[in-house]
């Protein structure tokens, strides 16, 4: 059964399609995203504090690699479909990175179904934000048409990627949660814990409004891109599942890693890509990531990836 939070996405989507006046004020959107990023980081950090972090060090490399691989896979598919080089690289960057809200909905699903997962998952979320984006930029700049007039200014770019709102809040939250531990965070639990789901609802309402507003991009993008935005998450999830098995994750952890690999970023990636690959049409990436892949993951993907994780674990023995 669908989680209630998804209904808010549907409400926003429907309202926008019906051309309703409904609009969340821009500062509210910003406030909600700041809250969600911090809250996810804090919760993850407090969980991590209970663990011996050293044991996960070997997994870190695998997770970083997974981000790069999904970006490469996306790029290969898109070029095979004759998408222009710059556009393919930009879209690949979005799919190489991850969607924080998709992660939130997926872990929420696990919690409400009583399925455990590794405390380290939010750290993986953070780790997977960046490598896919960097891979996308490299694909654009190294393999792209030689265009001497626009060398990449890596300085500002890496700054944008590593010091953007998303990563700073996630990492900051992680560190604070890790230092403070569950006890230190207890007084903030009514705020950062209890309100999480309700805030997620409001954010999904806004995402529905935005996603439906991007539907128009589908015409420009064409059937191939629409197909890509559904096939890619499925392939990404398979890759994520395979990695999870190798890393020895539980069923819940496997499903979450698959979801991360299947999801496409729309907080960190668009801002970075706009500056790094300006010749790519931002509409295409956003339409794929937000208008198709995001709702697909919410509605169909998450249950599929759970089923996938169970299947893989039963097969793997």
């Amino acid at each position: 059964m669908l989680d209630t939070v998804v209904l808010f996405f549907a409400l926003g989507f429907a309202a926008r399609l019906a051309k309703s006046e409904l609009k969340l004020p821009a500062p509210l959107y910003e406030a909600l995203s700041i809250y969600l990023l911090l809250a996810i980081g804090l919760k993850g950090g407090a969980e991590l504090a209970k663990q011996n972090v050293l044991t996960v060090l070997p997994q870190v490399g695998a997770v970083l690699l997974l981000g790069v691989f999904t970006a490469l896979l996306a790029f290969a598919l898109l070029r095979a479909g004759r998408i222009a080089h710059a556009d393919a690289a930009a879209i690949a960057g979005h799919y190489g990175s991850v969607s924080v809200v998709t992660f939130a909905v997926a872990s929420n699903t696990l919690v409400s179904q009583g399925i455990d997962f590794e405390a380290v998952m939010p750290l993986f979320l953070v780790l997977m934000e960046v490598p896919g984006i960097v891979a996308g930029i490299l694909l654009a700049r190294l393999l792209g048409p030689r265009d001497a007039s626009t060398p990449v200014a890596w300085g500002p770019l890496l700054h944008e990627v590593f010091l953007g709102k998303g990563l700073v809040l996630l990492v900051g939250g992680l560190l604070i949660g890790w230092v403070a531990g569950s006890d230190g965070l207890a007084p903030m639990k009514p705020f950062f814990g209890d309100l999480f789901k309700g805030t997620l609802c409001l954010f999904l309402l806004e995402m529905g409004l935005v996603a439906a507003g991007q539907i128009g991009g589908l015409k420009r993008g064409g059937l191939f891109l629409a197909g890509f935005a559904i096939v890619m998450p499925l392939l990404g999830a398979m890759m994520g599942t395979a990695f999870a098995l190798m890393m020895g994750l539980s069923v819940g952890g496997t499903m979450l890693l698959a979801t991360l690999a299947a999801s496409a970023s729309y907080i960190a990636a668009p801002a970075a890509m706009r500056i790094a690959i300006p010749e790519a049409s931002p509409g295409l990436s956003i339409t794929c990531a937000l208008a198709i892949t995001f709702p697909f993951n919410l509605l169909a993907g998450i249950p599929i990836y759970l089923w996938m994780a169970r299947l893989a674990h039963s097969m793997a023995g």
Binding site: A26, E30, L209, G213, Y266, I267, I275, P278, E279
Partner: protein
């Protein structure tokens, strides 16, 4: 009261360009700038400002004519092809012209 003629350059563009543009205009000789949040529509479709990627800004720069020219030249070369952007200039009058002169 006597005002001195000077150039006003107005740039309307994607919010993603705010930081680079601020650096650009300073580098090209402007002594300041003023920015407001905006939304709008143009050749590149509607930008209704409802979320991060959809926001626009409107930047005003007061400067002498050579600096205005330099700004126009630069943004044309650097941003016109790939970004939603509209630029116009006007002749206006200021007190204290030295405040906006070459830096």
């Amino acid at each position: 009261m006597n005002t001195h003629p000077i150039k006003l350059v107005v740039l309307v563009c994607e919010a993603a360009l705010e930081k680079p543009l601020c650096a650009d205009v300073k580098r090209l000789g402007a002594r300041g700038y003023t920015v407001v949040d905006a939304r709008g529509a143009g050749r590149r479709g509607e930008r209704d400002g409802s979320w991060d990627e959809d926001r626009s800004i409107r930047m005003e720069v007061l400067c002498d004519a050579p600096t205005a020219d330099a700004i126009l030249n630069h943004v044309q070369a650097a941003y016109f092809r790939n970004y939603a952007m509209t630029v116009y200039t006007a002749d206006i009058g200021v007190l204290r012209p030295e405040k906006f002169g070459p830096s």
